[in-house]
Assembly symmetry: C3
């Protein structure tokens, strides 16, 4: 099956569309964009172009099975693995390198020059400042803000690093350069002003260490809830889930 | 007077428009949408379609006098009473049942499967998670977040309940499953980690009970300000205001 | 060079475009809009119209060199000096008077009836309530909220005043009527519940005075970082920077 481009959409020259790609009404695909097979672009999206800096490449590359929902804006000069899925009104500026199966919620704003590994999930209205690093399987819930300027305003931007399996709950703010340890959980509304240890709970403003997450029971059940990868599997491939479960069956 | 559909708008088959409905430039009304009389849809809106789950109904139904401002997105499978009014760039996902005279501010994001009663007012950039319940006359000010996952990430979503006449000031975060008592006020920037008693003030992170709101004077005047329904009437019908005022005249 | 209006754009009558103005695809310029020379309007923008109140003037006036990025909405009845620059999905309602070189980040929402002086920079997702006053060279970082209702909901709106050179870091909430002193810094995630003294650091919820900013060293360097105008000059004209530097060379 070939691509379906809505008659009102604008597709410039030098665009590569894979097989079975759909482009929604009133969307604009600018020169230098490459979209993988079986991808779907919603209405009112603008992909490519509008970068204002020198880049390694001005191409904007999406893997297969991308779903980009309406009113979203992606600048030239970024690269995404397969299975990107976005909500509405997402913005990603230039220079981002993202792995596979990235989810970006409605209104989320990635400022560019970020490194995002595989299976990262961001919910609505997350703000990711330039130079952020987000590792595999991390979760950023609604309204999370990753900052990058220790002495605002300044030229010395220092990005946040969010470790594998870490969870930032709703409204969390992480201060510049802080490291969120692997598998840690920062509770809703917390302001993380120092590094978070691996596998620990943090809460409050400024966030305090509430001890190992292994103490935290599941909701309504008397069994441990963390590491969450032993309990929550929705949307992850069987192969990955099998690996996770083999960690506890050993 | 019949409907006015901008020539650039796209209206699919199986759409029911009431009398005197206007549809703005570049908007898309998908199959299964029903819009009541004297409604106005702004530019760049997409109404209907794009639901991804099984629903009781895929229809998207608006009562009379709806005003939906530009760049807004409503999924199929929700229902709104008369007098819905939105700001710009609003998103409402599937499965929401809303009463009359709902106001949704610019950028507000309702995640679906929510129950919203009458005369609820949300300001800009409010995030309403799935399974939230918001009762009559409640107010949610800019940036409020209602969460729903007590052990993120998990499958056990537990919605927030916001009681009648309750007020959540700017930037308030309510933790999963918490009940905001009738007529209570949660101060700006607070994180509500437990239930809020009726008619009380809460403030801080975590929010503390600051006592009955009846102690709080109006701004610049030495008289009680709460319950607010005895002082603030803008936009409510005379009949409702008369009922409120009869409570204190008795 | 004359103006370039994309063939899909809609430009109503009674619009004044300067020389070398470009209007992007699917944008709408309503009657009463005046745009200065060498300005660039992105795609999916709606400028002018849709005001709902009586205004001194229904005109919407932009100075020269305006850059308005995609999906933005400006109501009639506001006025901007030269060099306005916005991110995507910005909203500005009626009655705002802004000076020159204003920057508004992606998703920022200015509610109208605000006074904004010169060289003010707002980052993404800032919410500026009605009646706010923001003085020269102030910075508002991502997610800042300026509130205006001391007894919500009420009719007595009292705007915030942000002083010259003041910096509100990410996620700061300022309570109604509070004055942010000249050159002060409110740290990320703080809730400012009282006035902030000039040149001081504030942090926490509620925000505490952390003393004079002159104590704060630059990141990685043992020299004072504040007042920031002696260290940070990106984007300011030479003449202004020279004035700032002459303050310390004297």
């Amino acid at each position: 099956m070939s691509s379906t481009i809505h008659p009102t959409a604008i597709v410039e020259e030098n665009v590569q569309l894979g097989k079975n790609v759909s482009v929604g009404a009133f969307s604009i695909i600018r020169s230098g964009v490459r979209i993988g097979d079986s991808s779907s672009i919603g209405a009112y999206c603008e992909l490519g172009g509008s970068h204002s800096r020198e880049l390694e490449s001005e191409h904007l590359v999406f893997g297969a099975n991308a779903i980009i929902r309406s009113h979203s804006t992606f600048y030239g000069g970024s690269m995404f693995g397969d299975n990107l899925s976005t909500g509405h009104r997402v913005t990603v500026r230039s220079g981002t390198r993202a792995g596979k199966s990235l989810q970006l919620g409605t209104g989320t704003d990635v400022q560019g020059d970020c490194v995002i590994q595989d299976y990262v999930r961001m919910h609505s209205n997350v703000h990711v400042s330039m130079k952020s690093i987000i590792e595999n399987y991390a979760w950023l819930f609604p309204g999370v803000v990753l900052t990058n300027d220790p002495r605002p305003p300044s030229e010395n931007l220092v990005g946040v690093k969010v470790g594998e399996f870490a969870v930032l709950a709703a409204g969390v703010i992480v201060l510049p350069g802080k490291i969120v340890g692997r598998g840690s959980l920062v509770a809703a509304g917390s302001v993380l002003t120092r590094n978070a240890d691996e596998g620990c709970l943090y809460y409050g403003n400024p966030a305090k260490n509430g001890g190992p997450l292994s103490q935290l029971r599941s909701w309504g059940e008397n069994r441990p809830n963390y590491p969450w990868r032993y309990r929550f599997h929705r949307g992850y491939p069987n192969q990955i889930v099998d690996e996770w479960m083999s960690e506890i069956s050993d």
